[in-house]
Amino acid sequence: MSAASTVGFGDLHILAVDDSSVDRKLIERLLRSSPFRVTIVDSVKKALELLGSLHTPKVDMIITDYSMPEMTGYDLLKRVKACSALREIPVVIVSSDNIPQRITRCLEDGAEEFLLKPLRQPDLSRLYNLMLRNNNRH
């Protein structure tokens, strides 16, 4: 890799969304061993506030739980893909339910990946590689 295309790892920013405190703690622990900057919120509403704020460092990947009260991870996906400023951000949806129609719908509507809970380190390692590839292209 030449110096011009080297990405500073700490510059890449992951936004995680989950309403469960147990799962937030888990994903925080798994993401801690990554070199990326991490922000974790407990609702889609908070995620959208962050994404819309000029103070927030650019988000390079969103990892969101599917089932949440009020707005779901799918709602977040649709909002992100409908917004020109945000639609390039890869959105990964995570769910504890293995429902094929749900998975297909999310992927067809622009989700980068659909992962089943509980998340493990290899799942996240794959996502990091994805982020790095995406950012080398730009």
């Binding site: 469960s20 703690k25 622990r29 809970k117 509980p118 493990r120």
Partner: protein
């Protein structure tokens, strides 16, 4: 006591609890997430689980105590779904499976409730319309006119 003996006891205990299906491999995974920077990780995440699970079970219990006509099975199903999620996250296998069964019961009861309501509404509607027809016949028999004629 000798650390080696205790370690052996721990291994036997963990194996037994696994075999009983009370916990599954996900619990072991959580134990591997302990390290120097996070030595209490397992304790902390399980403490969160116990707290949230107890709250959800209390909610479900309260909802079921509401008396037959007022039980919100939709809410119970939602709470059971949440409980299922967090149980699966920490490897509490038996609770996870129980929640799946619980939701199945709720979904059945929701549809049975709607069916009961359908029977009830049909009886009620039939009674009320028959009352109207009865009065109309009485009016005609008494030589009167019906509205709209």
């Amino acid at each position: 006591m000798d650390a080696k003996l205790l370690q052996r006891e721990l291994l036997e205990l963990t194996t037994r609890v696994l075999e009983e299906g009370v916990i599954d491999k996900q619990f072991l995974e959580i134990q591997t997430l302990r390290d120097e920077d996070n030595p209490n990780f397992t304790d902390e995440v399980v403490a969160l689980f116990f707290e949230d699970a107890q709250k959800l079970i209390n909610e479900i219990t309260k909802a079921l105590e509401q008396g037959q006509n007022y039980v919100d099975f939709g809410k119970i199903s939602a709470d059971a779904h949440q409980l299922k999620g967090i149980s699966a996250s920490v490897g509490a296998k038996r609770i996870t499976d129980l929640c799946i069964a619980f939701r199945g019961f709720c979904d059945q009861l929701i549809s049975e409730g709607s069916l009961q309501q359908l029977h009830y509404e049909f009886s009620l509607t039939k009674n009320k319309i028959e009352s109207i027809f009865k009065l109309e016949k009485q009016i005609l028999a008494a030589g009167g006119m019906l509205p709209g004629m």
